[in-house]
Amino acid sequence: MESQSVLFYLISGLTAFSALLAVTASQLFRSAIYLLFSLIGIAAIYFMLDQDFIAAVQIIVYVGGIVVLIIFSIFLTQDSGVEMRKSEWWRIAASGMAALSGFLLTALGLVEYNFVTQSDNLVTGGVKELGRALLSLNAGGYVLPFEMVGLLLLAAMIGCIVIAVKLKELPEGKENIQ
């Protein structure tokens, strides 16, 4: 086996293990840290696939943004050391069986199926090609989804502020205008 395969299996094993711990850890804060390691492992897999830009976006947005946001919200909403309430045993057994059988079925289908892989690397997915296609107006360009995602982010930002803002306590007799 080549060294690259060994590295791939090592990284994917670490990713899968920390993902499993992220959904089974009894403390919420530990669960968030395991999720962090799992996301870093996925970014490493993108690096192994030669997709540098997507790996960088994964690290910036997920590891630097979403996980930090989740950890902040854990601190805001509850004590991080408290153990979570356990689910009922029948719920754990049923969903574990459903997830396991679904995974085995999918894995069997994947092993049986013969993918016809192409080896000619015409487009490497470098930053230059991605940037040109992202702002291209021709066929195959992605300028419209780009603009729509910008609008969506603006709407989400305004929505977050409106939902999470703390209303001031008004004196008696005055209605809150909202």
Partner: protein, 103 residues
């Protein structure tokens, strides 16, 4: 990366997806459920990148799907956390069983 690693990559992504499904069903904490949803979105991203890289190397569509999924996941996480904080202010709890009123 080697061509033979496509199937192990897809199996890893299936494992991550069903781990997310398991966590989403068993956890009763809203933040944990959000984390499980993020795992599922990530497994879909791995599939998009792997298929684009190994089956259609001349195109870039899978990469763009991945980039847009990451962007939308960030917006979704921010909104979900805003809603969770609002619910926590009203009910002093982030358990899904306690969030049973539209307030």
């Amino acid at each position: 990366m080697n061509q033979e690693l496509l199937t192990p990559l897809l199996i890893l992504s299936a494992f991550l997806f069903f781990t997310g499904v398991y966590g989403f069903v068993t956890r009763r904490n809203m933040i944990s459920m959000l984390m499980s949803a993020e795992l599922m979105l990530n497994s879909a991203n791995i599939n998009f990148v792997a298929f684009n890289k190994f089956l259609y190397p001349g195109k870039l569509d899978g990469m763009f799907f991945t980039l847009f999924i990451i962007t939308i996941a960030a917006a979704e996480a921010a909104l979900a956390i805003a809603i969770i904080i609002h619910v926590y202010r009203q009910t002093k709890s982030i358990d899904v069983k306690d969030a049973d009123q539209l307030i």
